[in-house]
């Protein structure tokens, strides 16, 4: 990764770590190393010597990760930052590392033996942390020298480290607080993690609650006679829990992990812990492990995929017989939408939900302050470690703490003191426009935010937007910077969004210095609302579609040529029109997890809001692009024709969606602050860009692209409608008959886009593609 791809750092940035050592090239260790490398920091990855090439374990791990999906690396080039080695020949190199992460097998004796070895080579004062998920810190440091204890802590990453935002950090009584502060800062800003301080208790926070939750859910499902499909529907969407639910999640992490975790929990938990009431072995799980049904990595788990006549069939296990049968689609009644609906439902699903989530939320509430000083740490851990939309306390708030207490009593579940204490109040309350959380001492305290974090949810809490309607809002971020937010489904564009954006541009011109384009939703924007386009096409409302295309062009160019700097701050999806929206900003400050691309060809269209021209300009501006009319055009043509989407911001930079000077922020919660800082840095003396002129490849260039597509057709790589669509794309990119000696203006380029777009949307195969995409979420290859 080049220097410019490094995350933006604020003036109060943490001390840089020049090199990090990860020991243990297993699944977790190697993926942690990959993530550190993705952040631009060199890594020494060591494992025990084995085979002729004594560093083969670490080398093979790196090679394996380059083929793994989802990719542990944000950019394959980052693999070069990992130096593989072994714990004998390369031990000395540890002296050059500023942080040593141990991620070897979960055996205290082996870990301690390694620590003793490390102590002979590491620079005194270098922090050493373990990625253990089950062994208490006290057990790991027992008998170790005081100097080691001072430097030792636990940094618990979640699997997969690139994608899971949670990092639990655990210090012991002797741990130097400077190490905690330094690594917290580094993991937050450089690795992009939300760091939650946990106490040295079994399973720390997320796994303590999460494993309890899974255990109770499995046991109760068997006892209450529910199917796996029912369980995953009940303990899923209504609670804001991913649709993998419980059984899908166990299949993902491995059924065989359950008894290991169980044994470790039973060995370390205090005697009266509620966990023990559910910890007896579950015969079905033992049987599944015996027969190799260990989940997705094995022969299947609670679910499995089988093939019959080349058709994939999803099957589920019967919790009573252990036999598989085709899965049955199960849907909760439509009025069951929220946690509170289920928790009060009289049917068997309500009974089950009350039992599982009652136990789980009560267990979580009983563990503060034992595992975390505050409730926010617990909620963050479950939100980011298990991808729950709301943590346990936020869920109790949704149900209502008093009602929750009553439900527990009815279920004969002990009501935790903290729930009794909050009484008829709530765990979270807004006071003076600031979010406060209930503390074990009975007071409300502001929800802590790490320095430099700016969240739209906090801005929202402070008051009303400057402009706003159901499509979106314009917010005042302070310091003269405004923020345009889209609030439609998947942040898609329709005429409402465009109208608000147009109004916002005028408003910012009069009242602000700069504008940031941002959303705290999962996705920046999934593009234009193609459902509306299909509806209009079915009614033959071509004029309406033409107007919407023209409007999009006008508004995005108004954004581009506005007399103030515009910074796009995308995260998640930025597709199609959403990508074009991003491309029209003066600068981009992207979250590292950016999935951007001009994907219109997938639905039989081409970019119609200036995306073609913006990409040509980006390619031409790169001095590495070979000269002449073809190379830049070919790159854009290939990218758009294949509807390529970046798998990270680093890849988006390779694709030229991000320019050299655009920034990447690793921590999702810091994207807005970084974007605002960028916007402010551009505000003084800002001059809007000049209108570009395009030199196109002309008819000869178009012929070259036609030839290339003809060749691909022969190879069976493109369909008949692909040829039509790419033909229109070639017309636009090569200037539709303009000679290579002529200049094409930006407006002419926009007109070409619009004309091709309108020709394509009037074709039946394009409408079939749109319909198919809306129905299945997948592209139609017609």
């Amino acid at each position: 990764m080049d220097q410019s791809a490094k995350p933006a750092t604020a003036p109060d940035s943490p001390p840089a770590l020049s090199r990090i050592c990860v020991i243990g090239a297993g699944v977790m260790g190697s993926a942690i190393a990959a993530h550190i490398a993705s952040a631009g920091v060199p890594v020494l990855l060591l494992d025990r010597p084995e085979g002729d090439d004594r560093s083969s374990l670490a080398k093979n791990a790196v090679a394996r990760m380059l083929k793994t999906e989802p990719a542990p690396f944000m950019d394959p080039a980052a693999a070069k930052l990992i130096q593989p080695g072994n714990t004998e020949d390369d031990l000395g190199a540890i002296a050059g590392c500023d942080w040593i992460i141990e991620a070897i097998i979960e055996r205290p004796d082996l870990k301690q033996a390694l620590y003793r070895k490390l102590d002979t080579v590491r620079r005194p004062g270098t922090p050493v942390s373990s990625n253990t998920s089950t062994i208490p810190l006290a057990a790991l440091t027992a008998g170790m020298p005081e100097s080691f204890k001072r430097d030792f802590l636990i940094t618990h990453f979640f699997n997969p480290p690139r994608y899971m935002r949670l990092l639990e950090i655990v210090g012991g009584p002797e741990t130097d607080s400077a190490h905690i502060a330094k690594l917290t800062g580094f993991c937050d800003r450089v690795l992009g993690k939300t760091v939650v301080k946990a106490k040295d208790t079994p399973g720390f926070i997320a796994n303590r609650i999460g494993t309890f939750w899974m255990l109770v859910a499995v046991r109760a499902a068997i006892e209450n006679g529910l199917t796996v499909e029912q369980v995953d529907a009940v303990i899923g969407r209504p609670f804001g829990i991913p649709k993998t639910g419980v059984f899908g999640l166990i299949d993902l992490v491995g059924v065989d992990l359950m008894p290991h975790i169980n044994a470790s929990m039973k060995a370390t938990l205090p005697p009266g812990d509620r966990y023990r009431a559910f910890a007896d072995d579950i015969p079905l799980i033992g049987k599944m492990i015996e027969t190799g049904h260990t989940g997705r990595k094995g022969k299947g788990g609670f679910y499995r995929l089988t093939r019959k006549d080349s058709e994939k069939i999803k099957e589920s296990i019967s919790l009573t017989t252990g036999e598989y049968a085709p899965s049955e689609r199960f849907r909760l009644p439509s009025h069951i939408r929220h946690a509170s609906d289920l928790m009060t439902a009289p049917d068997q699903h309500g009974i089950y939900a009350r039992r599982v989530m009652g136990e789980t939320l009560a267990y979580a509430a009983s563990l503060v302050p034992e595992i975390s000083d505050d409730i926010t740490g617990v909620d963050k851990a479950m939100e980011l470690g298990f991808n729950w939309k709301k943590g346990p306390f936020a869920l109790i708030d949704e149900i209502g703490p008093a009602r929750f207490a009553a439900l527990l009593q009815a279920e004969n579940i002990p009501v935790p003191p903290l729930v009794e204490k909050v009484g008829s109040g709530k765990f979270y309350e807004d006071r003076d426009n600031i979010r406060n959380a209930f503390s074990p001492d009975g007071t409300y305290k502001p929800v802590p935010r790490a320095d430099g974090i700016l969240l739209l949810e906090d801005i929202r809490r402070r008051g009303r937007p400057v402009l706003g309607d159901k499509s979106g809002a314009l917010w005042d971020l302070g310091d003269g910077v405004a923020c345009f937010e889209i609030t439609t489904k998947m942040n898609t564009f329709d005429d409402g969004v465009l109208a608000l954006l147009e109004k916002s541009v005028s408003h910012v011109k009069e009242n602000f210095k700069a504008l940031v384009l941002y959303s705290d939703a999962d996705n920046f924007s999934a593009g234009a609302n193609i459902g509306l386009a299909l509806f209009a096409a079915n009614m033959a409302a071509w004029e309406e579609i033409r107007k919407l295309t023209a409007k999009g062009q006008t508004v995005l160019k108004a954004l581009k040529y506005a007399p103030f700097p515009v910074v796009a701050a995308p995260a998640g999806l930025a597709l199609g029109g959403g990508c074009e929206f991003m491309l029209h900003a003066d600068a981009i400050q992207a979250h590292a997890e950016l999935y951007a691309g001009l994907v219109e060809c997938g639905v039989g269209l081409i970019p119609g809001w200036g995306g073609c021209g913006e990409m040509l300009l980006r390619l031409r501006a790169d001095p590495r692009t070979p000269h002449g009319p073809i190379p830049a055009t070919r790159e854009v043509f290939e990218m758009i024709a294949t509807a390529r989407v970046s798998k990270s911001a680093a890849e988006a930079r390779r694709m030229h969606l991000l320019r050299k000077d655009d920034g990447i922020t690793m921590n999702r919660d810091r994207v807005l602050a970084d974007a605002k800082a960028r916007a402010l840095s551009m505000a003084e003396g800002y001059v809007a860009p000049e209108q570009p002129e395009f030199r196109v490849a002309g008819e000869s260039g178009r012929t070259a692209f036609t030839m290339a597509v003809d060749g691909m057709a022969r190879q069976g790589l493109v369909t008949s409608h692909d040829r039509t669509v790419s033909g229109e794309l070639a017309i636009v990119l090569t200037g539709n008959g303009h000679d290579v000696t002529e200049i094409v203006t930006e407006q002419q380029m926009l007109d070409l886009e619009a004309a091709s777009f309108m020709r394509l949307i009037r074709t039946t195969p394009t409408l079939d593609r749109i319909g198919h995409m809306l129905e299945t979420g997948k592209p139609l290859r017609n």
Binding site: S700, G701, A704, R714
Partner: protein
């Protein structure tokens, strides 16, 4: 007319484009190293050299700016030595030999370096800026046809099965493997210094390939076709050079006379089946030499594709034991501009080694052409 001889032949290792050991080597530097080595090995007095005639199929980018002259200066030949670039696609550096032979015949020079180079890594096939004539593409798309498709067309027209192509590819790999292991290629190769060390060996051959492995490959150019990556020559980086001089000059200077150039020819054919080009060119060259194909004891037939090689072999009635004795381009690689010099030099070398009387070097050329040279043992 003066008699013309081949008096030296060297080449760089041939390495696969984009993944081989020459990807970071500029083509002009590569060619200069090979030219320098030719001068040193043959002992030709540099000041006597009339011209450096360099073949290159895509003379642009690092292969542009009249790379022939650039290489002449990079190789530190005297400034009096001229330099030109020749483009006849795959036949470029064989054409260099023909140009030199023509000049020598009419007394316009005594010694010429005829070289060829192609970095298919650094200058893509088709060039950076392909700008086909739109009207011609409509009227005669075959002119711009992908070479792989022309190979498919030849396979269809001459009814050459996929299995036959694979047998031929395997033959190429086997002959090459045997030649390498017997050290028969070592003498012609010039080590090339790169930042990551000296490159001394060919990188394209796949000595372990099997009939089963070849049979498992997908068609490379046409989903329903028979030509695969295994039965095509790979994209290659490489350079080659031969010393061409008058026989009298060679005698005067004690240069090794490897072979005499007896005749040569070029010929056009249908672009859509360009692979058949060698047939007509060879017939013309044979006729000019007053020979028949039965007189030919050594054949260097460029293996652009197995299908076109087999079609040419069949049409010309070539004998198997005479063809590509040390392997061919399917295994060794085909750096477009360099191949002509390689197979001409190789044919001259084999003529002596195999104790044959006449040799034929011939190639097909994109756009629908063939080129052929007949050599005679001295």
């Amino acid at each position: 007319m003066n008699s013309v001889v081949i008096a030296g032949y060297v080449r760089s290792p041939f390495q696969p484009a984009r993944r081989g050991e020459l990807v970071r080597t500029r083509p002009d530097d590569l060619a200069a190293l090979v030219v320098r080595a030719l001068v040193e090995r043959t002992g030709v007095p540099p000041a006597d050299i009339e011209d450096l005639i360099l073949g290159c199929a895509f003379p642009e980018g690092e292969q542009g700016i009249n790379i022939g002259r650039i290489v002449s200066i990079l190789a530190e030949l005297p400034l009096s030595v001229a330099g030109m670039t020749v483009n006849r696609f795959c036949g470029s550096s064989m054409q260099s030999v023909h140009i030199a032979a023509g000049a020598i015949s009419m007394g316009a020079g005594d010694a010429f370096i005829c070289a060829g180079v192609e970095s298919m890594t650094r200058v893509p096939m088709g060039g950076f800026n392909p700008m086909p004539n739109p009207a011609l593409y409509k009227k005669r798309p075959g002119v711009y046809m992908d070479m792989g498709i022309t190979a498919e067309n030849v396979a269809k027209k001459y009814e050459i099965s996929r299995e036959q192509q694979e047998q031929f590819a395997l033959r190429s790999q086997t002959r090459t493997r045997e030649a390498i292991s017997a050290g028969r290629l070592a003498d012609e190769i010039v080590a090339i210094q790169t930042p990551s060390g000296a490159v001394t060996r060919d990188g394209c051959p796949r000595p372990d390939t099997t009939a089963e492995a070849l049979a498992g490959l997908k068609p490379a150019f046409d989903v329903s076709g028979s030509v695969t990556a295994g039965t095509s020559s790979p994209l290659t980086d490489g350079a080659a050079a031969v010393l061409v001089c008058s026989e009298q000059y060679a005698d005067r200077n004690g240069l090794e006379k490897m072979a005499r150039i007896r005749s040569f020819a070029v010929s056009g054919c249908e672009p859509e089946i360009m692979g058949i080009g060698p047939v007509q060119a060879t017939r013309k060259a044979l006729s000019r030499a007053g020979l028949s194909i039965d007189d030919i004891g050594v054949v260097e037939l460029n293996e652009a594709f197995a299908s076109q090689s087999l079609a040419c072999i069949r049409e010309l009635g070539l004998r198997d034991e005479t063809i590509n004795i040390d392997g061919g381009a399917i295994a060794l690689g085909h750096p477009l501009g360099a191949t002509g010099a390689r197979i001409t030099g190789k044919a001259a070398q084999l003529l002596k080694r195999e104790n044959a009387r006449y040799a034929l070097a011939t190639q097909c050329i994109g756009g629908g052409q063939g080129i052929a040279t007949i050599l005679e043992r001295i």
